[in-house]
């Protein structure tokens, strides 16, 4: 019976699921609290052209994304080949696109700001 053969292979991973839910909830609450209060010492310091607060948001987001993909989408149980095919391709292309578009956006901002055409009317 298919019943018996599958039942003993997969013991329940309910505990891990609730643990991950806890992590995701705590991170979201931290993000929301930071988003509402916006502590001045975090918005005043800036690293590599961006406020420290924004870096914190992005790192926390990636942390959440990691848990969703690895625990909820079972990426941790897939083979190395599948994991790399999906994650590396996506991450590489995303970084490439973000780099190009943000650089270009910043350039246009400078042109608007320092060019000889007035936009402020």
């Amino acid at each position: 019976m298919a019943h018996d053969s599958t039942a003993h292979q997969h013991e329940s991973s309910t505990k891990r699921i609730w643990q991950v839910f806890g992590i995701l909830s705590i991170v979201t609450i931290v993000e929301v609290v930071l988003g509402i209060f916006r502590p001045p010492f975090l918005t005043e310091t800036s690293i590599v052209g961006m406020h420290l607060l924004n870096w914190i948001f992005i790192i926390l987001t990636l942390y959440k994304a990691y848990y969703i993909a690895w625990a909820f989408m079972h990426m941790e149980h897939e083979t190395k080949g599948l994991r790399r095919a999906v994650v590396w391709s996506g991450v590489f292309l995303a970084i490439y696109l973000i780099f190009i578009l943000l650089t270009e956006g910043d350039y246009i901002y400078e042109v608007y700001k320092n060019g000889y055409i007035a936009w402020d009317f």
């Binding site: 298919a2 019943h3 599958t6 039942a7 292979q9 997969h10 329940s12 991973s13 309910t14 699921i17 609730w18 839910f21 995701l24 909830s25 979201t28 609450i29 993000e31 929301v32 930071l34 988003g35 509402i36 918005t43 924004n54 948001f57 992005i58 926390l60 987001t61 959440k64 994304a65 969703i68 993909a69 625990a71 909820f72 989408m73 079972h74 897939e78 083979t79 080949g81 599948l82 095919a85 999906v86 391709s89 996506g90 292309l93 995303a94 696109l97 973000i98 578009l101 943000l102 270009e104 956006g105 910043d106 246009i108 901002y109 608007y112 700001k113 007035a118 936009w119 402020d120 009317f121």
Partner: protein, 326 residues
């Protein structure tokens, strides 16, 4: 003769053929690659948003000021609470989905049914919340003025609190009505006429001393610039061309039109994914009830829609950060 015996030298190797190097079924593999391509679509949207935001770096709206509504708390400034709630709803529906997948592995039909049902309910609540968020965004709250150069000007009082157009404008008797199809033979289109007129707002501005114009430009402290009385009067007299109430694809009272465009396209495209996810979940839910997967001996279909559903949650995590937090 052993000429027909072909040896490639790859026997027993991972990619030598005859085995499953990625250890996943065709369906699951294709779901993963669909998710990858879809993730890149969202990357395109979000980085285009980043592009526009960098382009208008010194005049982009502050999300906390735009999305500050909460049901039953009318007029209360509640930044972020509502999206935080939506995020929790979606994360929780992701948890029930993964619990359904887990129950599927153990071939527990009853549990899969319950968890799938909860997931669908979570998805529907999320969609409803998003509709509410859209309707608030579209109808707007305070209203604003637009200038010749496409800038948005908002009104504040002496303490920097926003003032709505309806509290400023002197309502004038006028013959103007919205032009509709039933009033004209050659009707081709017409814009909605606001209940306020520019003259009424100018009159109201002159009548009150405690009104100032706020532009969208950031000052040194990273706050929006509030003009002095004289400067405000100068902008009103020389540059203002019309009234903006709420948001649509061509203009919005919160800032650059692109802000509203990206809001509609990104949250809309995500909402479309949630909606299709709910529909697919419902189909699978009925299959679970009918015992299709029980007979098939495997709940892999639940796992596959689960992957899609988690992906929708994953995208929301990014939309939440880049639209509401950063």
């Amino acid at each position: 003769m052993d000429a027909t015996v072909v040896r490639t030298g790859t026997e027993g190797k991972t990619w030598g053929g005859g085995n499953q190097p990625l250890g996943a079924s065709y369906g699951k593999l294709m779901m993963w690659f669909f998710i990858l391509s879809d993730a890149l679509t969202f990357t395109g949207f979000l980085s285009a948003y980043g592009f526009s935001r960098f382009k208008f770096a010194d005049s982009w709206p502050i999300p906390d000021e735009v999305f500050n509504h909460f049901p039953f708390l009318h007029g209360v400034d509640a930044p972020m609470y509502y999206v935080a709630l939506m995020t929790f709803i979606l994360i929780f529906s992701s948890v029930t989905m993964v619990l359904a997948v887990d129950a599927g592995h153990q071939m527990k039909q009853g549990k899969v049914t319950t968890y799938m049902f909860l997931t669908i309910i979570g998805g529907l609540i999320f969609l409803g919340s998003q509709a509410w968020e859209w309707s608030n965004f579209i109808s707007g709250e305070y209203g604003a003025l637009k200038t010749k150069g496409g800038k948005i000007l908002q009104f504040v009082d002496g303490e920097g609190h926003r003032v709505a157009l309806e509290d400023i404008a002197v309502i004038q008797e006028s013959e103007r009505t919205t032009h509709r199809e039933n009033t004209g033979v050659w009707f081709e289109g017409g814009s909605t006429v606001s209940e306020f007129t520019l003259e009424g707002i100018k009159e109201g501005f002159a009548a009150s001393d405690d009104l100032y114009i706020r532009t969208l430009d950031f000052n040194e402290e990273g706050e929006k610039t509030i003009l002095s009385r004289e400067e405000s009067q100068n902008w009103l007299d020389n540059n203002v061309t019309g009234i903006v109430e709420g948001a649509n694809l061509t203009e919005n009272e919160y800032g650059p039109p692109l802000f509203a465009d990206f809001f509609f396209f990104i949250t809309g495209f995500h909402g479309f994914h949630v909606a299709s996810g709910v529909i697919i979940n419902i189909i699978i839910f009925f299959n679970v009830i009918l015992g299709t997967y029980e007979r098939r001996g495997s709940y892999e279909m639940v796992e596959k829609v689960g992957l899609y559903w988690h992906f929708v949650d994953l995208v929301w995590v990014f939309v939440f950060t880049f639209f509401y937090l950063v």
